[in-house]
Symmetry: C2
Subunit: 368 residues, 2 copies
């Protein structure tokens, strides 16, 4: 591929220099920041995540902060999921939609105080979105990007490592719940979260000047457990059925099509953005659904930049939106965003690169 050159338009996280010093070799760009992805040994990175513990610079998971008298009101306006019972210290996964009910992000909402919320976002500009809605509705709320950068600790040994740093109280955190704390005077929030299904925490650094310090503390605590470097891994997230907004979705995808309908509450008031469209989509029934794909063949053949057509009898019935070699299944697996007419058990044909046709089976998600 190619190298990315430095520019003030693409920002490093507070952990960037540590990640580069430890030998980061490949990265992605996410929220106009650099997301370290691999340190050169993907098999080890996967194995560490599955069997031990890894630390990831996920500073690219930015926070859209809502602060002020109308913060709670705006949070609900932007979320088609009922937040009325959300408590301080609680986080909630929220499919964020536009007025047409199209998915535009899938953040974790964190309620820090009654008038202070963060949306910890996927890769799209929710500051623009939130500011436009808030200003047009003349809400009394300040929308900003605070100095907050998550560092993830993931894997079956993550809890042990994080508890050794912060104490046993972290073991009591429920999923997506968090606590504000500090460490050597570094302001932090610790949440049970992370973009894998192997368990773990995200440590939200709240002072960007102390990234190296936090990195080293986690690294040091993890040494005993052979903590590895890495980044969110495509094989694990695909096996686990996690959605990547913007990879698995496009400009026409609604939450019902990608298994997020359970997070939509259609009884919310009409002022919630997209709720009327979502009621209509739900009533009519979505036209597509997201299923798993198990491809024929026994060598790695990942998806490149483009979605690939799925056909049955020569007719296009959907798209393969994601494809990666699964270490556990020893197969190429992926996601289909496909007509409701196609179902689990069906065989479909994929139009791969270089005009290759490959058969695949539709299966349920997640794979594990």
């Amino acid at each position: 591929m190619f190298q990315v050159f430095p520019t003030a338009r693409l920002r490093p996280s507070p952990f960037f220099h540590s990640a580069m010093a430890e030998g980061c070799t490949s990265a992605s760009i996410y929220n106009r920041m650099i997301l370290p992805a691999s340190f050169g040994d993907k098999e080890k990175e996967y194995s560490d995540l599955m069997n031990g513990v890894v630390m990831w610079d996920v500073g690219v998971e930015r926070q859209v902060q809502l602060e002020g008298p109308d913060a709670a009101k705006l949070a609900q306006i932007l979320s088609p999921r009922d937040l009325s019972k959300c408590k301080v210290g609680q986080g909630k996964y929220v499919p964020m939609c536009n007025h047409d009910g199209i998915l535009i992000n899938d953040p974790i909402l964190l309620k820090l105080h009654e008038d202070l919320y963060w949306f910890s976002i996927a890769d799209s500009d929710i500051w623009f979105w939130a500011r436009a809605i808030a200003a047009e509705r003349r809400l009394d709320v300040k929308i900003s990007e605070p100095d907050v950068s998550p560092l993830a600790v993931q894997g079956p040994m993550a809890e042990t490592v994080v508890a050794s740093i912060f104490g046993d109280w972290v073991r009591d955190l429920k999923y997506f719940w968090f606590k504000e704390t500090e460490l050597n005077g570094i302001p932090l929030a610790v949440q049970r979260s992370g973009w894998s299904k192997q368990g773990g925490f995200e440590i939200y650094l709240r002072d960007g000047s102390r990234g190296t310090e936090l990195w080293n503390i986690v690294k040091q605590a993890g040494l005993l457990y052979n903590i590895g470097n890495g980044g969110p891994t495509s094989p694990e997230r695909t096996e686990s059925g996690l959605v990547s907004c913007g990879s698995d979705t496009d400009d026409t995808t609604n939450p019902y099509e990608v298994r997020l309908g359970k997070y939509v509450d259609l009884n919310l008031p009409d002022d919630v953005v997209g709720i009327e469209a979502l009621r209509r989509i739900h009533a009519e029934g979505p036209k597509r659904h997201q299923l798993g794909l198990v491809l024929d063949g026994d060598s790695s053949d990942p998806l490149s930049f483009h979605w690939e057509d799925i056909t049955v009898g020569g007719q296009k019935v959907g798209d393969m939106t994601n494809c990666i070699w699964s270490p556990r299944m020893q197969k190429n697996i992926g996601y289909a965003l496909i007509s409701k007419k196609c179902n689990i058990g069906d065989t479909v044909v994929l139009a791969r690169s270089n005009q290759r046709k490959v058969n695949a089976q539709l299966v349920d998600l997640p794979f594990y």
Copy 2:
């Protein structure tokens, strides 16, 4: 630096395979797409631009299409520049602002028909922005991302090359004016435009399946003039004083601070987004302005990912937002976003990486 790996979240342009086949070595990410930047010989790329002709894959300059009865109304609502005299076939440079008068993009607006407009945007999500405003105001307009990807031909010989392809009518195009046309059945628009001050055109490809074809036509026509590969070059754009929205601006920058005040019409109606804030900012007088910097020292020392502090007498007075080695000046030059108290002729101190202090002179922009 590091490699970027393929993902459906980062899209290639229709010219990507051609650019890679010709040996693209470095790239940036812009509007979540890949922007080929260099083919390994930056001195030649600069020299070709200054003295001959180059072709650039600038497919990342995406179009935000407004279509329908309220398209003209929305275009004006989003633009604090008077569009009332804009004619079909005309383009206009527009500083786009949020409700607080903060610059969020600086697109070229193209008027294709009375009810069809494109914003050819810089690197920020104007689809989100436009959709939020349009929906909140219940305007009858469809906002989309059409299948349109610009290919730039730049440099003193660009007009000769483009005229040899399309005919002499291109010589009559005024700056930012364009004409819809086709070539071997490929639908196109040809505009006198481009992100350099060396003259040239942007050819808007309107069928993404025909990118390689268009690339080869331009390459073939350019052979006689030794057309080079490349991408928008930091040295030339800095020498020429062009603004890069998101590099030279941040979350607090208004158009008056970065020499774009002349494109703001304060007499526009109150429904134009940001116009009330811009009137207030103009009346109070902006606190900062953008000046050139000429740094001491005679070896290349470009800005990396971060802005760098500018101080006078140990006090921070502004930021260096951009810095690059100028082939013409044989100096490091850059932009200051700096207090109005500092002016042309002043000497300031830059806090460079590794704690180095470097003196610089404030000068007028553009350098050339």
